[in-house]
Symmetry: D2
Subunit: 479 residues, 4 copies
């Protein structure tokens, strides 16, 4: 018999795996290049990767300025602040906390003075040996003012006081275990580095003479820059007066691009490692359609990530695509559930059914994941209330059975419904007439990866070894 | 020869007709009814109707409380504030300024003490004889502290010091010219009133024993209330201990529901005067498809209002629906254009093309309106840059040739490109391969109104006479 | 036997009678006159009269601007706000609430449009027939959005729609009962009005060609203006293009300048109705010295109001003046008592003894009033702890036995320790070795008033009749 | 001939030497001891030593919490924040920047994790070898995120990873050159350290079983604690479960307590190194009286620091003490000079004369220092305008001829009027009838120091060697 499933009260915002930071960098030799303006626009385009804090550091070659704060890009910066950030070189960061608590002190980029002069670092990813590294550095006299991986990386680089900057970073990187896409800035250079597994994306663009680095290519589009190429796993690019040079870390046994960038994280208009995200999702939808054994009248997405997938599903299945759920675009982090009694209407605040689309219909509903199952259950209940005759749930990923240690907040294992329940149990729990997960094979067919993918959350095959006791709660500076 | 068309720099946020207020009311006899919580959720669902300010007034039958401020519902209220708003009767308002300048003093509901005791008023619409009424009231000794229509209405009601509340409101209403949907609250009653033309919507719902009034039915859905019926044009509903009673103003010569509620304003899941908005838009899309004379590979919406229409178009035309433009959902009112040089990338910040969908394709793009034409031009340019071979623009409304005086900010006439240019001139200006507007007849076929519509912005037939010199700039209290 | 005396917990900030508003006005014909800057500086100098909110209205003759907010003058205004307040005519207000609750809506000046055009009013004082006037106006159709006397006055003026402004104000004034010093502003004129009893002060100054009105002459000093004369009780001054003209209300049976302006409210450098406040206090000190029957080593003031009095006392008695208590100048309204257990150290946070001055000494301590007696008790305890051998309390006023209805918050009668206890009982309660109050006769000798004083709080002879049920809690708009 | 003297426009707030930080610490073994509440009250009492930022760190023995921000103690903390700061051990800091720019990042205490576990440091003073130490630490791999001396001290301590905490601090201290009074906190201990010269004060108190450390004894008075003794120059006190233990740094060649603590910084009710500040100032006043050769009618202080001195002067000279200048207590850091034209009234905003005291009088005015001379000139002008017949300026310190490097912002040498002008030149510049400075000998007579004083600003004899190029602008992290 299946173990009882607990319903969490605060399901509304927690069901989705949380995003995990976006990074951006710009280097130009042109004094007139407004690095702050470009970084601002770039971060705007990457806002979906992190809404907790935003920040940037810029340099005019001599003088370094920084501004960061809690909140969205649009709240953190204003015209006066941007006008005060003068320079032709810049890096920026939007953050959702994966390690470190939610403090201003943890906002990135981190700027400091060290043996390399002024240095700024912004990080997307998650190290798995942070605590070991921090202990070792402390024994050598290092002082830590935040609980971020970024500060550990900064200290490792600073220790190599005799090497030049690129060498120091490459040496420091060899101590790092886990996922990391980094943009690093000195007074007169921009560096990009992607870990050898390539877990998190990073790509290179150009705008006139300026080089641009970004987590996703959608940031290029928003500033009118051209996409040049993806940064390769294990590649360090050093950009300065002498142009761009590439260095390489020792290769990893395999590559392991996070599959969730395609399924959920990235914006549909981004291309990651050669594949457009929207197209990948449509392909997932077509694969889902192949699996689908029922008759239905309409296919509807759970907005917004289900949209591309549902179009692919409709195309392949011939079942008409329609809008059955309206998302309230004003519901954000600051929404409060005003009182206990109204809690149970939860999902209604965020999603509302279009009755005239659903009434009397056999409905296929497309979502990207089921984490704990509670939100799916509520959505299906909503559709039935609105008159849906049948509700068939199709999920564009296999069951999530294992937690992620490389930067996605898929929580601890016991909260993952699929880690302890069969598909049939989950179907009954969420109240669907049928439930289809995409198989790992079908997912591979859809994505057609040129390189290896990290699919550890589906099968537990972690490409990078996880220390026994790694936990993000170990070191908390509280405020 | 066509007169030259000026390009405005600040086109990005100004092209769309601005929304014009949402109102909400709740009345329960149950002491445990949390009117503030319900109003909060209701305003959340109506947020698309106004983002400038939000406010509510509640009463426990004896004691009246108010809170309002500039900003979104989520910013104006927090748990402490909601906890302090105790009562079983409430009204709320979200506002985008149509008359009155953008001041806190102008935020609604307006709460005051007068011959009727404590009274609160919230208004959606726009009077056209405000200045005459205000002058007359001033001659009688009235004092005006804001520049809102609402304060004029409040003063008119207060003048009828001998009548009971319902009679006083009905008498006051007979002086009002223009559009008005009102929720009014005393310590122990809730009143709803819709002008005889029915320009702005209002509907009635029930949640357990509580009566609910709202601009749109989507607000019922978000609190789990049942839709009962639309408030009829010219109807006053008085809700108190004795239940709900209806009163009626003298009927207008015709009804004149604002067509733009269907085209642009209302949420797709709302039903207005018997018609679902999403379905109305799909029907507009089908009508547009009938007009479309070209071959094309893909039909894409301008998000978000084009979505429903594009699905209808795709359905009727057989041209596949796809996502060709991604909207950055984080771009809001606080976005700043960081510097002059980057201005020309304007629309890129808000919309980005999905190249893999557009490359080499003949594209049909669906939008709801063309006001000044500059944004349409930028979008078409964007699509071509992304590889579209042909771009056919289809608009789900006739050309806007006349300004609105009843609550929609379609600006002054000279800014309306269609008021002085032919369709062919506009097509050339925006750079489309073809341009199709929906005809007024086709629009009527799509909407199938049971009652009269106001389509004055398309043909200048204003159902309510406009005073010669009415202007919203006449009376400004500045801060 | 004496009835038990209750000790209030929140004694720290409540013992002192609260200040009651400062007003300021400026009129110049010179376009270059910066009325906002002058008003800002004038309000700064009057800040001691009210710290709850600050505001100003200015006019350039055509265009009227307003800014007001909760907080100190220095927090409410900044350079940008002052730059936006353009004009050569202005009025300003600092407020401590005497009527009306502590809301932004109640901040002054009140600006509105009425039959007189744009009108702004700022009020120092307290009407005693507010509720009657408001009821009467409501019956005539008036609407009240605040709970201030000022709004009642504005409505009364607005009712006289046929009269010119001066006449309308004079007619309105004849309905007012209570204390009022008013500055009123239209687009092109400045008016000052002082009630016939002259309860609150107001004086006239000149700076180059500009006329200045202010609650106290210290405001002239801070802007470099010359003192011209006091506004007479019952006088209205109208200042416009035609210069300054005086009008007079029917005279009151007597004049009744508030004695507390001399004892406690006003700044020592101000001259009120012909008498310098510092000199008046020194004279009170000399009178106190005549009464004092004991031997002592040192006379020390309770800062800050006791300073002038203590110098006078020292001079007349020959007992050396010294500083025995240091006031923490950073303790203000925002101070919080961090926890229950620390409450009992209360007065220590605000006042600290200078042990080396007090050790082994017979100390005379000079304070301006004893309201509830709790603070005096704590201070005396503090002095003894610091080594004082004897503590003799001298108070520069007679016992306060009656509440004030004209603008000073001396609270309700039962909280006034002297209303139910003898001097000997109070001496024992506060723990003094002796306690001397100034007699009413001695106070008159010190002040030597040319006109009548209001000393109702000492003897209950209220010059203006108090309606039976007047209470400031009657009408509260809550937020 | 004397070189021309420039008048600075922004003289108003800059004339006074700026205060230089206050520190506070508490240690109790009692779980119920509310370290945050005590630290809050202690910082309140020390607020005069720094108004730029405030902060505290507390520990319950296991868990460490921190809160700091820009602004006054009353603005930085509120009840919720204090409730969140749980613990029985705490340190706090109020800051006026002497090194490091005015940034939140530079606010203290600094909290970090290092080889000693969690460590927090708060510093009053100024190191003169900061840059050398930072360079050396950088070469060893240290990373600096602020521009404070405190971070350098923290890193030095962290380097001694093998020593216990007291030893590590003592070893680190031996590298420090300059002035430093430090409170340091680990999870379970409180440490106080005063530099061997004893430039800045620190004293020890007890409240029940709790040990208290504070910059000045006035902090004890405000929490009801007993003064135990001054911390000796070069003494480290370690307070933990085992009680209090003292350690000593190698003694300095001499002691050098900053004379300005007595003249200007400290609160009159504080006792520093055995001497009460108020008494010291009265003694300075008596010494000044001995020097004074003229006849006069009244002696008045420049508030607030001149008060004690003027009383001493009056006592010794027999010239009556009076209040001739009223200080506007609401003028603070946020005051803005509203426009250019009003600038020249400068000092009038802060100080206003009491004409009735000054009219026709020969006035002695007592101030603590003359830095640039501009403010003194304005004050004398004000007194003459108010009718003073003669103005004799007496200054309770010798001429300031040399800048301070140990924590007082007496600016660069060229701004010090006395560094390049004779007393007679200064007298003429400020427009006084006579000008008397206290001689160094008289000052020593007044203070009667048991140990050496630092009087370098008067005679250039710096007790601690100043590196050639030390400047506080070397290292700036900008925001």
């Amino acid at each position: 018999m299946a173990q009882p499933i607990e319903q969490a009260d605060d399901f509304l915002w927690d069901e989705q795996p949380e995003e995990a930071c976006g990074i951006f960098g710009v280097y130009s030799n042109d004094e007139d290049c407004n690095a702050a303006a470009l970084t601002y626009l770039g971060l705007y385009a990457l806002q979906h990767r992190g809404q907790e804090s935003a920040g940037m550091v810029v340099s005019d070659g001599t003088h370094v300025s920084v501004h960061k704060n809690m909140g969205l890009v649009s709240n953190v910066f204003n015209r006066d602040i941007l006008d005060g950030l003068r320079g032709r070189i810049g890096i920026g960061h939007v953050r959702y906390s994966t390690t470190g608590s939610s403090l201003l002190a943890n906002a990135q980029p981190l700027l400091a003075r060290c043996s390399k002069g002024m240095l700024a670092v912004a990080h997307n990813g998650n190290l798995v040996n942070t605590e070991d590294l921090r202990k070792e550095l402390e024994n050598g006299g290092s002082v830590f003012q935040t609980s971020t991986d970024t500060e550990v990386i900064m200290n490792l680089v600073a220790r190599h006081s005799r090497e030049n900057l690129a060498d120091a970073i490459l040496k420091a990187a060899q101590s790092l275990k886990g996922s990391y896409s980094l943009v690093i800035m000195s007074k007169d250079a921009l560096i990009g580095l992607r870990d050898p597994y390539g877990v998190r994306p990073m790509c290179l663009g150009k705008l006139a003479d300026a080089y641009i680095l970004a987590s996703e290519s959608c940031a290029f589009s928003s500033i009118g820059a051209r996409f040049i190429r993806d940064i390769q796993p294990g590649e360090l690019v050093m950009i300065d007066r002498d142009g761009l040079r590439s260095y390489h870390l020792p290769p990893a046994p395999s590559q392991a691009i996070c599959i969730f960038e395609y399924i959920y994280f990235a914006r549909p208009d981004s291309n990651i490692d050669g594949l457009n995200v929207h197209m990948a999702r449509k392909a997932m939808g077509r694969e889902l359609a192949k699996l689908f054994q029922h008759e239905a009248d309409v296919v509807i997405p759970v907005p917004d990530t289900g949209l591309s997938t549902a179009i692919g599903f409709a195309e392949a299945s011939g079942i008409p695509y329609d809008i059955g759920l309206i998302k309230n675009t004003y519901v954000g982090r600051t929404f409060i559930q005003p009182n206990q009694a109204l809690r149970d209407m939860g999902v209604r605040i965020k999603l509302n059914p279009v009755e005239s689309v659903l009434q009397g219909k056999r409905v296929v509903i497309i979502d990207d994941t089921i984490v704990r199952g509670t939100t799916s259950g509520k959505i299906i209940h909503l559709l039935r209330e609105a008159g849906a005759k049948e509700v068939h749930m199709c999920v564009s990923a296999p069951p999530i059975t294992h937690p992620c240690y490389y930067g996605i907040d898929t929580s601890v294992r016991k909260e993952l419904i699929a880690s302890s329940h069969s598909v049939e149990e989950i179907r009954r729990f969420i109240g669907a007439d049928s439930l289809n997960y995409l198989s790992l094979e079908a997912l591979y067919r859809a994505v057609e990866p040129k390189e290896g993918l990290c699919v550890a959350c589906f099968n537990g095959n972690y490409p990078i070894t996880i220390p026994q006791e790694e936990s993000r709660d170990k070191f908390l500076l509280e405020e």
